[in-house]
Symmetry: C2
Subunit: 146 residues, 2 copies
């Protein structure tokens, strides 16, 4: 990255503030040794962890429990060539502690429609990076996120 390429690096506080504005992000993981990506809705825990709610028997759970994943959110205005992108990278873990599950069920992510055997997944905010794009610059090959 170059210092004057039209991007402004975002600090952790700004990253989490922006992420909280969008309801859907994309979880990036490995599936059968290939890169995989899945849009999901989410919420943020008080410590910046990404919270998903999904079926305990889903293919996603089998692929990500215990693995390091990336979770991407963005909001880009193509007409104005402006926007932002934030990526949280960290270990994804199914919440198995009953008290923690209860807390999240009370305060955390609300499903649009409940799925069977729902569990929460936490993605630890081990690395939180983000960039804001100032209008008029190309996105090509320019890493909005790190």
């Amino acid at each position: 990255m170059h210092p004057n390429d039209g991007f402004r690096e975002l600090d952790r506080h700004d990253c989490l503030r922006l992420m909280a504005k969008v309801p859907v992000g994309r979880i990036v993981y490995t599936r059968q040794a290939l890169p995989a990506v899945l849009p999901v809705n989410f919420s943020l825990d008080h410590d910046g962890a990404v919270l998903l709610r999904t079926s305990a028997t889903s293919e996603l759970i089998r692929a990500i429990d215990g693995a390091v994943v990336a979770f991407e959110t963005d909001d880009v205005d193509a007409d104005r060539h402006s926007g932002w992108s934030v990526v949280v990278t960290g270990t994804a873990t199914v919440v198995t502690d009953p008290a923690e599950h209860e807390r999240l069920a009370r305060t955390g992510t609300v499903s649009w429609v409940p799925a069977p055997q729902e569990v929460f997944v936490r993605i630890e905010p081990e690395l939180v990076t983000g960039r804001e794009l100032v209008g008029g610059h190309s996105l090509y090959g320019v890493d909005l996120t790190a």
Copy 2:
């Protein structure tokens, strides 16, 4: 996936038709053994290959040239709980043939602002999968894309 979960699988034609409507997607790859994701603008070649244009010296090029990557696009209306997502998975290759570079420079992706030493990257459409979400269903853990 269950047959009546509110999703409709999209065929290759519909996937490419929808992708052509959005200017920005997200390239998913591996960076230093970690999952990485980067929003970029793109266009589609006549055969459905994803075309990016970036600096030959970018970190992205070093990470993806010759590697299998995923390229995700989506358009989700969170209020109406509807939308679609398409993923192209295939090998990314820097276009080195001068005639092919010339063709793409003439007909392909146009940079918002040119970068130094620009090259084209083709992502072969080896696997094209997509789903359309019918309103009212949860996105949690539901694979919109495969």
